[in-house]
């Protein structure tokens, strides 16, 4: 065996901890990288499952054309097709309103519903309804209803045989087999979902279908994945942004892993340097040494890389069941093989480079020189001129890129900008800023330490020593702190973005759904005089607020604006509207509250004048307040009733807003029925349950929160592992110093306290640097993703992050500190 390799392996046998620590950095790095890949998988699958109605098992979708029932049979019999399921729906009129009957197989991988009661329909005329439909339309299991399916078809009897839970329960929905949906007599299907046999050629099946089905308008055949994405995009415009954010996060996590590895290798490097210099001094050749080290590095990298990937896989597959215990449904990450292989390869590469680098340095300097180089790496102060210049240039480059992003930000909600490019710019700028931070770290540590250390110095010699210890080895402090700073930056980013999106969603919800119910007809319909009064008399309803709504108003250049006179005081929820300037309570005759984009379009601010024109009439109003988004009920202006009358809008209300008096689903159902009863004389008006829309937005928010939680969890993991590894190494590196302190009379407890305090100080420095970087970058990211989102500063969450991270860093130092304090002073002093 190569003698150097033998020496290295013997060294491994004697001091396994050191190899473990070398490997640990790479282990952590590969774990983090692969865990992030899995997090991306979980997130993307969960988002698609949450927003798309197409099951993941669907391989092909045939839609947007004329598909006959005979075509379905043709598709089912094609080779390679395992299952073909029709999706179509009809509406039938029931006493309580329209009921939708949709088709679904009821079970199997292509089903979109889950049976909760009774059985799934097996024959024509049988339906299973959704839970809300049971409540709202009084369709209990076992009941029979005669309905007319429309067209020329004869009335048919529907039997409710079960209750099923769909993804979105709209409250007037039922499911059955194709014969039930064909009762109206139509011979066409909206869409066919196809599951292929495993191993079947999707492209071939696609072509086969296209050539077989050629009606007057041939349908499109798309892949299930494309359809899911398209549906998700339709459901939520932010889907692409979410995916970009997750990808950005992957990039940042890879960077973090590199950082952690680099900062731990710094210490291993110093230890290796001495050893390699010694080998050189006794005559080992460069080639021998390089080969031996490369072999050792490759082996270590392979072992720890595979371990890291397996650990990440274990955690990744534990997350979905763990989260489902808390009521969050997320998808499994699967087994992305290519990424796993890539991660292991990366681990091998990093390790080989890391062990070869000191070998090359050791070969360059004279053996004796290397031997003499201090065994502690942290003692050097400050940074050299070259390093300072490099750092400043990097910082300037980061600022330059950030400025570029800032000038490219969208100015109005309608600005078409490429969010992906902006985010990439932000990541690039952040990356540069972090390299600058690493380069200039030793200089930046001082001012933060002066502040943070002031109270500690007063706490006696242990505090003074801890502050002195951190300040005295600014390079080491900088290396550990940068890892913490990265963690805090990521956390801050997630929290600030999450908070901004939450506030934005809440405001949009308030403007779109200011009450539980809205009663209205088509544009131009006015309510009978007694409708509002009858609604008021119902004990099931409260805050009944009639309003008028008018379209076709011209405000400056803005054509066809909408305006309403809904009372701000009647609906307390409206007080939470996103006010950019002015005061919404100032609304009075002659004044108006307007949407933010209208104000921008018309070039007015609070106190300015706007002219509203409608059908030849005109009023001039003073702007009382400008909102961030729309004014309530999807309008651009909120006026006093008298001003709306001046524009020629009839006095009769066009709609009624009302809240349910009772709580929960029952209260909502009772309120809905009461409102329907109040308007029963006017068949052309209908009730919309705005509260359901609010629920849907909240559901979407909950999905986003799950993603945010997963990302936060991963970040905390990165930060803890990184800080733990660096702190542990720092203590190992300083065993001798600990021995000396013990020899000159520091107690075990004192040493323990000192090392733990030092760790906490690394946390403080890192957290301060992280907040300083994280908040501006998060704001920049929010502005790039959604310019109408407010820039929030979630103080308490950030304070909590700060405290938790500092506590965790201190905790990361506890174990190594205990170990250092237990070592006898003589042993410690004898270590090199």
């Amino acid at each position: 065996m190569n003698p150097v390799l033998r020496t290295q392996l013997a060294g491994v046998g004697k001091r396994p901890a050191r190899l473990l620590l070398t490997g640990l950095a790479v282990l952590v790095a590969s774990f983090v990288v692969y865990a992030t890949v899995l997090a991306q998988q979980i997130t993307e699958r969960s988002v698609l499952n949450g927003l798309s109605g197409t099951p993941e098992a669907v391989d092909l979708v045939v839609q947007n054309g004329s598909i006959k029932k005979s075509d379905l049979d043709t598709i089912s019999k094609l080779p390679g097709v395992a299952e073909a399921v029709p999706r179509t729906s009809i509406g039938v009129r029931m006493p309580a309103g329209d009921l939708v009957i949709a088709t679904d197989p009821g079970s199997g991988p292509l089903s979109t519903v889950k049976l909760t009661e009774g059985r799934y329909p097996a024959a024509a005329g049988e339906i299973a309804v959704t839970p809300r439909t049971v409540e709202r339309m009084a369709l209990t299991v076992g009941s029979k209803h005669t309905v007319s399916p429309g067209g020329d078809a004869k009335p048919v009897t529907l039997t409710v045989v079960g209750v099923v839970q769909p993804r979105d329960d709209i409250g007037f929905l039922s499911y059955g087999l194709l014969p039930t949906a064909s009762l109206a007599g139509y011979d066409w299907i909206e869409r066919v979902d196809i599951r292929l046999d495993s191993g079947a050629d999707a492209t071939a099946v696609r072509q086969e279908i296209s050539s077989r089905i050629r009606g007057e308008s041939p349908p499109e055949v798309a892949t299930g994945a494309d359809t899911r994405l398209a549906e998700a995009r339709e459901a939520a415009e932010q889907v692409d942004q979410v995916f970009i954010v997750v990808k950005v996060f992957v990039a940042v996590a890879v960077m973090a892993a590199g950082l952690i590895a680099a900062s731990t290798f710094r210490i291993v490097f110093a230890q290796r340097m001495r050893q390699l210099a010694l080998l050189r001094a006794v005559g080992a050749g460069r080639g021998t040494m390089a080969r031996a080290l490369a072999a050792e590095g490759a082996l270590t990298g392979l072992v720890v890389g595979v371990t890291g990937v397996l650990a990440a896989l274990a955690v990744g597959h534990l997350i979905p069941p763990a989260l489902s215990a808390f009521g969050f449904e997320v998808s499994s990450p699967g087994f992305p093989l290519a990424e796993a292989a890539g991660t292991v390869a990366l681990a091998v590469l990093i390790t080989v480079v890391a062990v070869l680098a000191p070998a090359l340095s050791a070969a360059r300097v004279a053996p004796l020189e290397a031997l003499r180089s201090a065994s502690t790496t942290g003692a050097k102060q400050g940074v050299g001129r070259l390093r300072a210049v490099t750092g400043i240039l990097l910082a300037l480059a980061a600022a330059g890129v950030a400025y570029q992003v800032w000038t490219g930000l969208p100015k109005t909600p309608d600005d078409e900008v490429d969010a992906q490019n902006l985010l990439l710019g932000i990541v690039a700028s952040g990356g540069l800023a972090f390299v600058a931070l690493i380069t200039l770290g030793p200089v930046l540590v001082r001012p933060v330490l002066t502040l943070a250390g002031w109270p500690l110095r007063r706490l006696g010699p242990v505090g003074r020593l801890a502050v002195g210890g951190v300040g005295g080895s600014a390079r080491r402090a900088a290396a550990v702190s940068v890892v913490v700073a990265l963690g805090v930056t990521l956390l801050t980013g997630v929290l600030v973005c999450g908070d901004s999106i939450r506030v934005l969603a809440e405001r949009e919800t308030i403007a779109a759904a200011p009450a539980d119910f809205e009663l209205k007809g088509n544009t131009g319909t006015v309510l009978n005089d007694d409708v509002a009064e009858r609604a008021r008399q119902s004990t099931e309803l409260t805050r009944v607020t009639p309003y008028r709504w008018a379209a076709g108003i011209t405000i400056g250049d803005f054509q066809d604006a909408g305006a309403t006179d809904v009372s701000m005081t009647a609906l307390p929820r409206l007080a939470g509207l996103d006010t950019v300037s002015g005061d919404v309570t100032d609304l009075a005759p002659g004044k108006a509250i307007i949407a933010g984009y209208l104000a921008e379009n018309a070039g007015v601010t609070t106190g300015g004048q706007i002219t509203l024109k409608r059908e030849g009439k005109e009023v001039r109003l003073t702007v009382a307040a400008v909102l961030g988004g729309q004014t309530p009920l999807h309008t651009e202006a909120l006026l006093d009733p008298s001003d709306l009358t001046k524009l020629g809008v009839p006095a009769a209300p066009t709609g009624v807003l009302a809240d349910a008096a009772g709580a929960g689903e029952e209260g909502r159902t009772a309120g809905l029925q009461a409102l329907r009863a109040a308007a029963s004389a006017q068949p052309d008006i209908s009730v919309e349950v705005l509260a359901d829309q609010r629920d849907q937005i909240n559901d979407a928010l909950a999905t986003l929160m799950v993603i945010a939680l997963a990302l936060i969890g991963l970040t905390v993991l990165i930060a803890i592992v990184g800080v733990g590894a660096t702190t542990a190494l720092s203590v190992v590196e300083r065993v001798r110093e600990s021995g000396l302190l013990r020899a000159v009379g520091m107690s075990r407890g004192g040493l323990h306290a000192m090392l733990t305090t030092e760790s906490a100080l690394y946390g403080v420095i890192g957290a301060v640097l992280g907040l300083v970087l994280g908040v501006p970058y998060a704001w920049l990211a929010v502005a790039a993703l959604a310019n109408d989102a407010p820039l929030t500063f979630p103080v308490w969450q950030l304070v909590a992050v700060f405290l938790v991270l500092v506590a965790l860093t201190a905790l990361a130092g506890v174990l190594p500190a205990r170990r250092a304090a237990r070592v006898s002073p003589v042993t410690a002093l004898g270590t090199d």
Binding site: A374, T376, G378, A379, K380, Q381, G460, P461, R464, L465, G468, G469, G471, G472, S473, R736, E737, L740, L741, R742, A743, V744, G745, M746, S747, R748, G750, S824, P825, V826, L829
Partner: protein
């Protein structure tokens, strides 16, 4: 073999620190090594004593035990009447902090603290106010006045060892232990440090125990205690280089 020192167990004796029938065994079974094999020796107050012996004679082990850095297998270590072998770590720590000073071969200064901070470290740890007049005098005597703001890396070996010496002396401990204090120094710096050690004993009345294998260094001491194979092997009062070298040679020949 010369006169036995006064009874070391006597509280009122001149011994600042003493070992009584001290045994230290490393390892167990067949591989057990008796580093100290029943050593009884006292070190007088206010004097500069050197411990000498060939490699493996147990001189460093003896010093570590005397200083409460290492635990003895049996026997007693008496520091001013306290038996250190019976004390818990807390008491040992306190003793090291308040009653004992150290000078090491490899200086062992904290790299991140300035010379001044290194000097006052034991006082800081004990939470004691330094005796400013004494400290200034000490720094002046050791020639460190212009170097107080420097970090160890910016000092020469001789200067670093003088800082370490100041750190050992500043708290006026009952005993200062010096472990091969000139081992890493050139001969001129070594001579300076030795002279300073001797002067601290003579002028300040500081008790100093030094381990060395250099007869030239031992010649600075008031008394030399010889150790061989973990046992006491004689002593020399008012030694000179020739007497110490002869004694070492006869020890080596006697083996």
């Amino acid at each position: 073999m010369q006169r036995q020192s006064s009874p070391v167990t006597d509280r009122d004796s001149l011994a600042a620190v003493a070992a009584v029938d001290l045994v230290k065994v490393y390892g167990a079974g067949d591989t057990a090594v008796r580093a100290l094999d029943g050593v009884t020796v006292g070190f007088e107050r206010g004097r500069f004593t050197a411990i000498m012996g060939p490699s493996g004679s147990g001189k460093s082990t003896l010093m570590h035990c005397l200083a409460g850095l290492d635990t003895a297998t049996s026997g007693q270590v008496l520091l001013g009447g306290t038996d250190l072998t019976k004390q818990p770590d807390k008491v040992l720590t306190k003793a090291r902090r308040e009653r004992i000073g150290f000078v090491f071969q490899s200086f062992n200064l904290l790299p991140q603290l300035t010379a001044a901070a290194n000097i006052t470290l034991p006082l800081d740890l004990a939470g004691r106010k330094p005796d400013t007049a004494f400290q200034d005098k000490l720094i002046g005597t050791l020639g460190l006045s212009g170097r107080l703001g420097h970090l160890p890396a910016e000092l020469s070996g001789g200067q670093q060892q003088r800082v370490a010496l100041a750190r050992a002396l500043v708290s006026r401990p009952e005993v200062v232990f010096a472990d091969e204090p000139t081992g890493n120094l050139d001969s001129r710096s070594g001579a300076e440090v030795l002279a300073l050690l001797r002067d601290s004993a003579r002028e300040l009345g500081q008790t100093i125990v030094m381990v060395t294998h250099d007869p030239g260094a031992a010649a600075y001491a008031d008394r030399v205690v010889m150790l061989a194979d973990g046992r006491l092997a004689g002593e020399i009062h008012q030694p000179d280089i020739a007497a110490v070298t002869d004694a070492l040679q006869s020890l080596a020949a006697g083996r």
